[in-house]
Symmetry: C2
Subunit: 172 residues, 2 copies
């Protein structure tokens, strides 16, 4: 009886591990340079903070997700964000949806195409003291982008220092 | 000692209830007509399925979230969606971000403005047999939209019958 119970526990554990693995193919893996950040496990399941479209060179449509620390801080208007906050920016190519447009009879629908890259901001006020308490990372197909790319992150976030260097506002 | 333990449990329960309440101001409340759907508690915390921009009359930017049944079915490519699936479509006014554009030096950033409305598709193959197994609802500021509006939902979803009447594809 005890053996069956163990077996059931093992099967449940394995199948939820497999399910979590499917949630994101790239969790863990190589660390990004400078800040030493790896892809946080399960980030694809995090709660939604907001959405945006970046035209121009990016030409993407994006979602910003947060871990529980991040989302709680947003909802409580807590600034600066506490240590342990992680904000994830997912982005996909911005593509017109031909199948939707056919139904609507006009070009109006733009959807998420292939994933472009994923970015993370990780708050650790001691470890990342020289960059406003934030570490930055960017991954494409699970592979971290290099030093040159990451050196551009913090300077671009300085204009929103008053919001603890975070651009995205919470979408109610 | 036992009394203190009870007190701690009560305080934790109350503060998480308050936290959940803040997650969405409009959970529960009045039911939408025809299908009798109320706002599902905690939907604002559901996992992300995808994002889109609808131009034209809507002119919104939107996120599609799913409850656990929905997200699991999407990730396992399971069609038709099983009973218990709920898909939520949140939308906000599509607005240029002046503060972002100032930083980038060009108009490129479009973000979520005020919330427009929230829609739900609820799968119950018996209860909603006459509309492909789906019930539809739309809420604005927590108030359900009326019969005339909801009667337009199913006909518009018929063109994607082959995908169980669901337009949105999962964004990886």
């Amino acid at each position: 009886m005890k053996r069956i119970a163990y077996l059931i526990v093992a099967v449940v554990a394995l199948s939820s591990a497999a399910y979590m693995a499917r949630a994101s193919r790239f969790d863990g893996g190589d660390a990004a340079p400078i800040f030493g950040i790896t892809i946080p496990p399960g980030y694809r399941d995090w709660k939604l903070i907001s959405v945006a479209h970046e035209a121009g060179n990016n030409n993407d449509i994006r979602a910003v997700l947060g871990n529980d620390v991040a989302v709680r801080a947003y909802r409580e208007n807590k600034l600066p964000f506490p240590d342990g906050t992680i904000i994830a920016r997912l982005a996909w190519n911005y593509v017109p949806s031909e199948e939707n447009n056919k139904v609507f009879g006009r070009p109006q629908s733009f959807v998420a195409g292939a994933a472009t890259n994923v970015q993370f901001m990780v708050k650790d006020s001691k470890k990342y003291a020289s960059t406003g308490g934030w570490g930055f990372a960017q991954f494409k197909d699970g592979k971290p982008d290099g030093t040159a790319k990451l050196e551009t992150c913090f300077p671009c976030h300085v204009p929103v220092k008053a919001r603890d260097f975070v651009y995205t506002r919470y979408a109610p």
